[in-house]
């Protein structure tokens, strides 16, 4: 049993969260399941979805800012949402889950399979932490490992800032048992920019094949300023298999994940067609 408080003011929420055995609840799509399974026994849940300043999408000259409690549905509907993020969010859960679940929740869960994390790593997003003061960190430094972030008691993730990249196209591929409600077995996101048939710039990241989402810079360097061919992708595929460190679980074996990750890069062939 636990109590729930729903402050409308961010500072009040943070004061309450400094207390012992308190935890943030936003959409609750993951937390409710864990609490009911008894994996977690909070005394107080702080519902932060009534804090207006934490919700909504703003566009500045060079950034998109997304409040932590903005739901996946709101992100999908917003014309300013970066295209790769939009595609990844469209693969989260189901329409009902997307109506409740929030981007901040997806980040703070720090799952290696977190669907929003692949795009956020690729866009090199930063996150704002609010506690006694505020600080901003690159997403890669915010996430420490499976389920682990740098957040301390009395701090919350308040805002996400995504740099606007002009002229980039994207690929997103999620491998799972079905389209809806699947936790990915492996996923890949790519942001790229072409000049004729040359890859002028490319960023590549994978989900579910490493303790965190992982960008593979060695592959990016190999492919930058190159023409896409089967041969170069075979080479890229080997580098990917070497860099990923998947685990075996109920969804797939480590070996399967490694092979799938290596094969996903061949999706790049479609841009040379």
């Amino acid at each position: 049993m636990f109590n729930v408080v729903a402050p409308e003011n961010l500072q009040i929420a943070i004061d309450i969260l400094s207390g012992e055995n308190t935890k943030v609840i936003a959409g609750g799509t993951d937390l409710m399941v864990r609490v009911r399974q008894g994996m977690f026994k909070p005394d107080v849940l702080v519902d932060i979805t009534r804090i207006r300043s934490l919700r909504g999408i703003k566009k500045t000259d060079d950034h998109i800012e997304i409040g932590a409690t903005t739901t996946h549905s709101d992100i999908l509907k917003n014309p300013d949402t970066p295209p790769l993020l939009k595609e990844a969010v469209s693969k989260i859960g189901s329409p009902q889950i997307r109506n409740l679940g929030t981007i901040g929740g997806n980040i703070v869960n720090a799952s290696p399979a977190g669907d929003t994390l692949v795009p956020l790593y690729l866009y090199e997003a930063t996150v704002e932490i609010t506690g006694k003061g505020t600080k901003e960190l690159p997403i890669e430094e915010f996430i420490k490992g499976p389920g682990k972030t740098v957040l301390k008691q009395g701090e919350i993730l308040s805002n996400i800032r995504i740099p606007i990249l002009k002229g980039y196209k994207h690929i997103f591929h999620k491998v799972g048992e079905r389209d809806a409600m699947a936790i990915s077995v492996a996923s890949m996101g790519i942001l790229y920019k072409t000049d004729g048939d040359i890859l002028q710039d490319i960023r590549v990241a994978f989900g579910s094949v490493y303790p965190t989402v992982i960008r593979i810079k060695e592959v990016e360097e190999l492919l930058r300023n190159q023409r896409i061919s089967k041969d170069i992708l075979i080479e890229a595929s080997k580098i990917i298999e070497k860099n990923v460190k998947p685990i075996s679980d109920v969804r797939a074996t480590a070996m399967y994940r490694k092979k799938v990750a290596g094969r996903l890069i061949f999706r790049l062939l479609e841009i040379s067609r």
């Binding site: 049993m1 636990f2 109590n3 729930v4 729903a6 609840i25 959409g27 609750g28 799509t29 409710m32 399941v33 609490v35 009911r36 005394d43 849940l45 519902d47 979805t49 549905s73 859960g93 189901s94 329409p95 009902q96 889950i97 109506n99 409740l100 389209d179 809806a180 409600m181």
Partner: protein
């Protein structure tokens, strides 16, 4: 720890209500146990099956994943709220007409998900219906008839709109 009861006010199926709930009770507990509206079903209790779908402020949500106290000040619509003056909603009529009800357990959730889609879109394709029902499972696997019913309801709703 002292468990505090919380008084919450909301509108359900057009009616204003005020109840006292514990913090750890869910929206489905409020709907089924407190208000005795048992049309809404609980399937998996983990947001996977969609059987418990209701609308909160017009949005389809799994009521098993939402804390009851979160609906304070909000508007809820359950399957019981679709009927108007004793007449079934076009979605309910369409489910009967198309033979889209087998065991019936998933039906309220299916209909509430479709309410969200059809209330917000003038035109809809079978593909959009399938995508929108991706969070609703029918273990009788009667999906084709459900899609037929949704298309039929869409047609009925469109005709009603054109007559107004």
């Amino acid at each position: 720890m002292v468990i505090k009861l919380k008084v919450i006010s909301f509108t359900i199926n057009g009616e204003k209500r005020q109840v006292t709930m514990r913090g750890d009770e869910r929206l489905i507990d409020l709907i089924r146990d407190e208000l005795k509206l048992t049309g809404t079903k609980e399937g998996c209790g983990q947001g996977e099956c969609g059987a418990c779908t209701v609308l909160v402020d017009g949005k389809a949500v799994p009521s098993c994943l939402m804390l009851a106290v979160k609906v304070d000040g909000k508007e809820i619509l359950t399957i019981e709220g679709l009927k108007r003056n004793g007449i079934l909603h076009p979605l309910q009529k369409a489910f009967i007409e198309a033979g889209a009800v087998q065991c019936g357990f998933c039906t309220p959730g299916m209909i509430m998900s479709l309410m969200e889609l059809l209330s917000n879109q003038d035109e809809v394709t079978p593909e959009e219906i399938r995508a929108h029902l991706s969070g609703n499972i029918c273990r009788c696997t009667g999906y084709s008839k459900i899609i037929d019913a949704a298309m039929l309801a869409h047609k009925m709703l469109k005709e009603m709109r054109n007559h107004v």
